[in-house]
Amino acid sequence: MSGFHRLPGSAPARFGSAIDRGEPVGFRFDGRLLPALYGDTLASALLANGRAGFGRGPLLGRARGLTALGLDEPFAWAIPEDGSEPLRADDIAAVEGGSATAVPSGAAPSRLFARAAADGPVAGAFPPGRRLLARLRRHAALPPAIAASLPPLVEAAEESCDALVVGAGLAGLAAAVTAQRSGLVVRVVEATGRVGGLADLYDGAIDGLAPQDWALQRAGELSGRDAAALALRAEALAIEPDGTALVSQRGAGPRPGPAKLRAIRAGAIILACGFHERPLLIAGADRPGVLLAGAARGLLRRYAVAPGDRVVVATTGDEGYRTAIDLAEAGVTVEMILDARAAPDSALVDRAKAHGLPLSLSSLATGVATADGSDRIVGVTACNVGGEGAAAGRRTLFADALVASDGLAPRRELADAAGLDEAQGLFVASRQADLASAVRDGVAAGAAAARHLGREAEAESWDVQGLPDAPEDAAARAAPRARLGESGDPADAAVIDAGADVTFGDLRQARLMGLSGPALRRWLGLGRGRDGGLAGSALADDVLGEAAPPSAPSPRLTLGALAARARLVENA
């Protein structure tokens, strides 16, 4: 058997920290029983059962899998038991007796006809009949269904605190604890259902504890002093110019219910929104079986789920090596590490070499090969960074999964959209993605916020030990795009925004028609997927050569939530 599977019980105990192998759980997905373990999420339970597909792309109709964990997943979403809005499959806990349903892949969200007319039939698109149906469903003035219920009114409440921390990762917890110890009333809002962020994906020690244990201890300290300090599943939507944060709060468990709006007025706001992993521009990288290095490591460490038996790792930095070492230790064959850098100089590369992992420098993954008639990956095509013809060294590696990473980038959407600075009480904590920087920047932001509010803050210097990453290599990061820019056909298959099904080929065609700037983004439909384009934003900015306008609101902001905000203001 190949593809996603659960590691055997004989694997090292550090894999599967979130699950309890001794306690099976019966969870239903789409009405069918899904064997899972206590601690699994819907995503990990599906993958552990070898079900890699999460429906089809809205426009091109290609099979899609899970590519990321947490906030960055563009496509693997499902509808929770109570039928409220879709949630990320990684955010739905698999509990005994619970259930969830797949999101119907119905009408395409965008530009079906404008584009079909612009560039003729799209290879692999839905057939014309289906498109016509989607069109009818969207546009025809059919009478409303009699039983259709209206979405409920969004409940909203106002509250206030001294300091609001967005994100309960290492930086956020360090900032919150620092601010709280100085005597401030602190609120922490965390978008996902767990604390620690990426802490459990990194080896090292903080204050002599494993990073995730340290995070849990800090979270305990926060809640111990003030039971209301920490709120999970609370996603910050926007920060208003007067320092009021709008937060979408959901309930826990398989019945989260409709989201409520919290308008939190804070004297200081600390943004510790963490980092997202940039995808690599690879033809076919939207297939089930291609995932980001962080997601592969998270699945292994949290749920003991491996992406395949023979895995190729493509990377432009050290992040891929961390996952390759984990995979090897979990007993998965690492077929090859393709590193776009020419001569990486880092401790992690040396560790990978010490593990005897096969390594190919100045190499790129260019695409995936699938078995005839199925979406299953059977190989990964690769080539050298430079060189033409024979010197390009085109080759196919046999593998059933591809792990790709283009390094981590800070999430800047909230900070950019807020447009406030430290003098106005907005502090940014997440700047660099390694253990020492995360804790240090968090403490500094917490202390600065306390000073801003007139408190003396004691900046604790926790002792942090971990392997730092080598600095980013700009030339290596630019290589995949340059390679795709010159070669022909695979461009169509290289997805820029997986949620909205926008490919590199679309971009090229739109450029040929003279589109640029905001009109180009509108035309392509960037960000029209479920995730609002968050997952592909870094890639899109990179490929377009310009940053998105900072005005794009959070994908969780609905008309009802904005109206609820207006009601709060009017009633005040």
Binding site: A117, A141, L142, M513, T558
Partner: protein, 382 residues
């Protein structure tokens, strides 16, 4: 497979898309300033008349914000003179869409104008009577009929509504781009990202434009972009007698069918050819959301994809200015206000005919910029 069998599209990329810089020629019969639907339509119509035309777009070739947030082409308008001007607008757009190289995603969904505070039932009744005098198929519908027509209004009892079943929605960006490509195919020179620095004048007449330090002569300069026009005319110490309106526009993602475009007072809601629902009103974004939620509770769970501010200009008497300005050589097509798209194609054809020396269409007479002497008195009185 199918793609391999079909010949590659033979259409070359438009010249305005190329990266290499081209220079405008020294003289044209007409220069059109603007990059939206109206400007591209004027350039195309004039080029089809055999004139040598340059389209100078201050930014990219795409619909202007007022055109984009109300992507609806209707037959009737509150002002009977405008109804007369745009009476055949949807049919004209449908005919044009078939000839354009790029589909503008035209969809005949109709439009409903709901009775509100500003435009109450009496005003709508008058508007319906005026439109019927012009021979338009526009009538008042009872609340039940309006509710049955519009899936977006599910869950509310709407007020009576003026039904304009011929109205179409388009993908405004695609329409502008398609018109620009067609204009180029007809012989016009199209330049994107080419802001004009100033109007070139000798004593009493406009003789062309100043661009990148050069003077480019033109028999006629047509200002078809409100923002550029205000800048150029203001710097030439002229006045345009326009009033501005600030609106907030929300772009929503919605999977459910929206149906006819909806208007209530200053609140506009329609689904464009790309599937996005566009809401706008002269209010703060939160207030727009609140008002839209009251009217369209169905959309409560729809995700807001963009929030933007849109400025539109209208003549001080509520009418646009179309035709030759007081200054010889200068032509205006601006001040269309909220409903900018509906009259655009008709205006383009009438203006192109006038540029070719034909008598100005009588439909344009009420909009002549030379009525501005009276307008200034009106302004002073206000």
């Amino acid at each position: 497979m199918l793609r391999a069998l079909l010949p590659a599209r033979a259409r070359p990329a438009p010249a305005f898309a190329s990266q290499e810089s081209r220079r405008p020629a020294d003289a044209y019969d007409a220069i059109v300033i603007g990059g939206g639907v109206l400007a591209a339509a004027i350039a195309r119509a004039a080029a089809l008349d055999g004139r040598s035309v340059a389209l100078l777009a201050p930014a990219g070739i795409c619909a202007t914000s007022p055109e984009r947030v109300w992507p609806v082409i209707r037959t009737s308008a509150p002002d009977p003179n405008r109804s007369a001007l745009q009476a055949d607008a949807p049919a004209r757009a449908a005919k044009l869409a078939r000839t354009l190289p790029l589909s503008p995603g035209l969809d005949r969904v109709g439009s409903l104008t709901l009775a509100g505070r500003e435009r109450d039932l009496d005003a709508l009744t008058r508007e319906a009577a005026d439109a019927q005098t012009l021979g338009l198929d526009v009538w008042l519908d009872a609340p039940q009929a309006a509710a049955a027509l519009s899936p977006a209004l599910a869950g509310v009892t709407p007020p009576p509504a003026l039904n304009d079943p011929a109205a179409v929605t388009v993908y405004a960006d695609a329409l502008a781009l398609g018109l620009a490509i067609a204009a180029e195919a007809a012989g016009a020179a199209v330049f994107a990202h080419t802001p004009v620095e100033a109007l070139a004048r000798d004593d009493a007449a406009v003789t062309g434009v100043a661009l990148q330090g050069r003077a480019i002569r033109a028999g006629a300069v047509v200002l078809a972009d409100d923002h550029s026009a205000i800048r150029l005319v203001r710097e030439g110490r002229g006045r345009l007698s326009l009033t501005r309106e600030e609106r907030s526009a929300l772009t929503l993602d919605s999977d459910t069918a929206f149906g006819p475009a909806l208007v209530q007072d200053d609140l506009l809601a329609a689904q464009d050819g790309g599937g996005a629902v566009l809401l706008s009103a002269a209010d703060a974004p939160e207030r727009v959301a609140l008002r839209a939620e009251a009217l369209l509770p169905r959309l409560r769970a729809a995700r807001i994809r963009a929030i933007e501010n849109v400025t539109s200009w209208t003549g001080v008497d509520g009418r646009p200015q179309i035709g030759a300005a007081e200054l010889p050589g200068l032509w205006l097509a601006l001040g269309f206000g909220r409903d900018a798209l509906s009259p655009a194609l008709a205006v383009a054809d009438h203006l192109a005919a006038a540029l070719a020396g034909d008598a100005l269409s009588p439909a344009l007479a009420p909009f002549a910029p030379t009525r501005r002497a009276a307008l200034r008195l009106l302004e002073a009185a206000q």
